[in-house]
């Protein structure tokens, strides 16, 4: 193939397909963001709770995450891991690094300093960060999908 016009039409058809994919993601209810924030909050904040609650929060949070993944797949017909797309993965890595720091800070503040409010503060911060980074990830993903062919 050597026709520039045909190449342009082909690139346009790629953008059309990608736009269709993105339109499916437009219909995701905002409740999904809240649920994601709640799961992250439970995972991070729960680590500062007394036993056995700190251990119990892990399977509950991971179970919630599994339900969310299942719902997402059924609703959109696609699956995208946060760490797969090139540029958005750095948002996911950034969130993971902050959450690990927050989790360790929560453990230190609650177990060593005995600050009763540490799990609440860490959970609250994780909730907000989960929502903010989740939306940020989606914005970067949309941009990448429309800008690049691959």
């Amino acid at each position: 193939m050597t026709d520039p016009d045909e190449a342009r039409r082909a690139l346009e058809s790629i953008r059309d397909a990608r736009t269709s994919v993105l339109q499916r993601l437009e219909n995701i209810h905002w409740g999904y963001d809240l649920a994601y924030g709640a799961v992250i909050a439970l995972l991070v904040g729960g680590q500062g709770l007394p036993q056995p609650f700190s251990i119990l929060t892990v399977p509950i949070a991971l179970g919630g995450l599994a339900v969310m993944v299942r719902w997402w797949r059924a609703k959109t017909g696609i699956w995208v891991s946060g760490y797969t797309p090139r540029r958005p993965r750095w948002v996911a890595f950034g969130l993971a690094a902050i959450l690990i720091t927050l989790m360790l800070g929560n453990l230190y503040a609650s177990r060593i300093l005995h600050l009763w409010w540490a799990p609440l503060a860490a959970g609250g911060a994780a909730f907000v960060l989960g929502i903010v980074f989740g939306r940020w990830w989606m914005r970067v993903y949309r941009k990448e999908l429309l800008e690049t062919g691959a």
Binding site: M1, R8, I14, D16, A17
Partner: protein, 99 residues
């Protein structure tokens, strides 16, 4: 990382380019979603998927969802590389006499 522009006739065929465009942007996609996005019938999409699978560009798996078995398709690493190379070639060609 830049990709070498390489024209790929397997990917460029009508319909298959859009199938690859959808799959390259996700980890995997469900059969019905791809069919609706590309706007083809079940049998036509099956042929496209088979051609891509035969080229080693695609893998298909069955998984239950809502009590029914669904078909999920994903590009292989070779498929992602081939699609990226093909898009690079299309971009190069399109820029030759850009208005």
């Amino acid at each position: 990382m830049s990709v070498a522009p390489v024209y790929d006739p397997v990917i460029h065929a009508t319909g298959r380019l859009q199938v690859c465009a959808v799959l390259a942007g996700v980890d995997e996609a469900e059969f019905a979603m791809v069919r609706d996005t590309v706007g083809v019938s079940d049998s036509v999409l099956s042929k496209h998927l088979k051609a891509l699978e035969d080229a080693g560009y695609l893998k298909v798996r069955k998984a239950p969802l809502d009590g029914r078995s669904r078909t999920w398709a994903a590009l292989t690493e070779a498929g992602r590389r081939a699609f990226a190379g093909h898009v690079a070639e299309l971009t190069r060609l399109a820029s030759l006499t850009a208005p």
